[in-house]
Symmetry: C2
């Protein structure tokens, strides 16, 4: 029996927290929130986050140094990510748009280079803030 894609204890604790959050969580916010569950130090958090990002369970919002759960069944390896970010309320939504995804995944630059991975962040005002 080989290893399932199951999460380890710390990974599960941290994934659960991020997954039930409606907004991106920062590493030290996570740390604070899981201390009651025995996770006491930054490396424990960052290690779990790294692993969750690698496996595509969560994504890092680079412009905010914060993490959201993946809402897209297709992006298992975080190869193609796109987000909309509200500049007013800080809300973040993962964009799941097949056409956009296809367009960018097959994008070649002028030198003909293809890429393995991309991350796209859109900024504007969300419906509520408009």
């Amino acid at each position: 029996m080989h290893k399932e894609n199951n999460l380890s204890k710390n990974q599960q604790i941290i994934f659960d927290l991020i997954n039930k959050s409606s907004e991106p969580l920062k590493a030290y916010t996570i740390l604070f929130n899981v201390q009651k569950r025995g996770i006491k130090a930054p490396p424990q958090v960052y290690r779990a986050l790294d692993k969750l990002v690698q496996t595509g369970k969560i994504h890092k919002i680079e412009s905010k140094n914060a993490f959201v759960a993946c809402r897209n069944t297709n992006c298992e390896m975080s190869k193609a990510t796109a987000f909309s970010i509200c500049e007013s309320c800080e809300m973040v939504d993962e964009i799941s748009d097949a056409k956009l995804n296809k367009y960018l995944s097959s994008f070649n630059d002028k030198k003909g280079t293809k890429y393995k991975r991309f991350n796209l962040e859109f900024f504007g005002l969300c419906k509520k803030c408009k």
Copy 2:
């Protein structure tokens, strides 16, 4: 006579450094390199960087926390930025592709939201590293 788009002393020093660099520079690398020119403390660097980013003279590579000079005469306000990033040698190139730019600038998500700004980062291997 109204104000030109000229840079202040610190802004100019820091822009010159970034502009002549072939690779993205980090804030503390910049600080180290401009100390001989009288810029001694982080806030001086970050303030100049903020202003240069706002005016589109430089861009921040979010995934690297590093800064590059704008190579694109069109993106004066940093509203539409795209980069190719080599995962091996860390080289960064600004992508200037009118079609891509147009496609993303006019992108609407499923809720019909338009965005003011985007930042796109492609990852892969550059020509040298392939």
